[in-house]
């Protein structure tokens, strides 16, 4: 029928005009629904495909969000080389420490004589190369906006306070108490954003639904974020009162068409995004939009007017991997690091005292 031909032509033309950040919905696929009529976004959606994509875009790319074929080919070649190195049966000298080939880099504290100070380097999820130039997609230059003057001042004060401590000058840094360790090393949490943004390993994400709720499970660190979802044309339940503050915040969801929109507030004032501490005014708005059987577009807009001068957005596609199993990540229970780091620092202090320093 002629009308549909025009429609097809028109939709292709429109698709080519609109700058597409994320994969567009394929024509032949229809969004399935759960038995109670909500869009069905259930499944296992690990972030494996995006491992290796940097958080911020290289400045040389400017507002170009995707790599050219040549640039992508280089990235792909690098991944192929890395995979080959990972699969080497015996260890070649070239693989040790060389940052260009997966090593931690030959710095005085991480590598000596070709041996690195971490675990075996192939014990990682390398992911697959993607054409996306960065995980940050807004601002258009793919770089995190500047800190507010207030946040800059606090950062400077933190650095100064750290430098004032004698332990800061030692090779290992300060390990006086567990509070000198990151939230990650303390096995508290990777944070709401950190739990889903791809990292070196265990990128498992799983979504389950039941009437009134969507639950997002993250493998790291065994999080299960229960998101109450408002019924259609309903305001949904309010956030918890301001006195209740948590590490992962308080999430509330609603559907906009087939997209799940989740607003999260009520954070403690101790959360960290990337390397930057956020304030308790932090607000996240996430969108989960399934565009095909095996692709879900994910984005999170990070808004904290006390910390960043404007909101910024991370977005990337998640790919379904039904055979990916999320295993338990009991971090705190196996945290030998804490014991090793603290007792190691105490041993070094004793040694320094013996040597009369």
């Amino acid at each position: 029928m002629t009308p549909s031909k025009y429609f097809l032509g028109a939709s292709i033309a429109i698709a080519m005009l609109v700058p597409v950040f994320l994969p567009a919905q394929t024509k032949s696929w229809t969004q399935p629904k759960t038995p109670w009529g909500d869009p069905d976004i259930q499944g296992v959606w690990p972030g494996t495909a995006m491992v290796g994509t940097p958080l911020e875009r290289d400045k040389s790319l400017g507002t170009r969000a995707f790599l050219t074929e040549d640039e992508f080919a280089k990235r792909a070649e690098r991944a192929k080389t890395q995979a080959a190195i990972d699969n080497e049966e015996t260890v070649s000298d070239l693989t040790r420490c060389d940052p260009g080939r997966g090593g931690l880099g030959n710095t005085p504290t991480t590598c000596k004589n070709g041996i690195s100070i971490g675990p075996p380097l192939y014990w990682d999820d390398r992911g697959k190369p993607s054409k996306q130039a960065s995980l940050v997609m807004d601002p258009p230059d793919g770089r995190i906006p500047p800190l507010t003057p207030e946040a800059q001042k606090m950062a400077a004060e933190r650095i100064a306070a750290r430098r004032a401590r004698p332990c800061a000058a030692t090779a290992g840094g300060c390990h006086d108490t567990w509070e000198d360790e990151s939230l990650w090393d303390r096995c508290i949490t990777r944070g709401t954003v950190g739990s889903i943004v791809p990292n070196t390993y265990n990128q498992g994400n799983q979504i389950l639904q039941t009437p009134g709720y969507v639950v997002l499970r993250n493998e790291m660190i065994h999080e299960s974020r229960i998101i109450p979802v408002a019924a259609p044309n309903n305001a949904g339940r309010p956030h918890v009162p301001p006195a209740i503050r948590t590490w992962l915040g308080d999430s509330r969801g609603h559907w906009e068409g087939n997209t799940l929109v989740v607003e999260t507030t009520n954070f403690l004032d101790k959360t960290v995004i990337g390397q930057t501490p956020a304030s308790e005014d932090l607000k996240l708005v996430e969108k989960f939009a399934r565009v095909s059987a095996d692709t879900m577009n994910y984005s999170v807009t990070i808004e904290d007017p006390k910390t960043w001068t404007k909101p910024w957005t991370i977005s990337f596609p998640l790919k379904s991997e039904p055979d990916y199993v999320l295993y338990e990540y009991a971090c705190h229970e196996g945290n030998y690091y804490m014991y090793n780091a603290l007792s190691g620092a105490r041993a070094e202090e004793k040694k320094a005292a013996r040597n009369g320093r």
Binding site: V91, P99, K112, G118, W123, Y327, N340
Partner: protein, 137 residues
């Protein structure tokens, strides 16, 4: 030297960082870069725990005495997804470890390279080079 590292970082940021965005924890806090070790010993057990697995092995020293070492591996979740299980490293297996000893002086080390005596890596099975690299749609 510094320039080299900067170039390496720039390269990494454009084409994809091999080192993660939010870093591994600081192994340099646990282990001493000035105390390299090379251990050859018999596996007694393996702790399949996170954030890092630990392989326990008996190592006979030059003095003939046996020391019980523990060596840090990576997250077991990765091994499980590759098809290795808790049965995959039998007690009694001989392994060779290159790493650095713990700062606290105990018989602990990281396992930068963990191999069998013939040099073959333990728990091989990284990403399949033949599965790469298609553009993600």
């Amino acid at each position: 030297m510094r320039t080299k590292i900067l170039i390496g970082v720039a390269f990494a940021s454009l084409f994809g960082a091999a080192v993660p965005v939010w870093a591994h924890h600081s192994f340099a806090a646990e282990f001493d870069i000035n105390k390299p070790v090379k251990l050859e010993g018999t596996v007694t057990s393996m702790e399949w725990i996170n954030p890092h697995s630990w392989i326990h092995l008996d190592v006979k020293g030059p003095d003939g005495k046996t020391a019980n070492w523990m060596v840090e591996g990576g997250s077991p979740n990765i091994l499980l997804r590759r098809g290795f299980t808790k049965k995959s490293l039998e007690p009694g297996t001989v392994i060779v470890v290159d790493g650095f000893q713990a700062k606290n002086g105990e018989y602990r080390a990281n396992g930068s390279n963990i191999t069998f005596p013939d040099g073959k890596r333990l728990f091989l099975g990284g990403s399949n080079p033949n599965e790469l690299p298609q553009a993600t749609k």
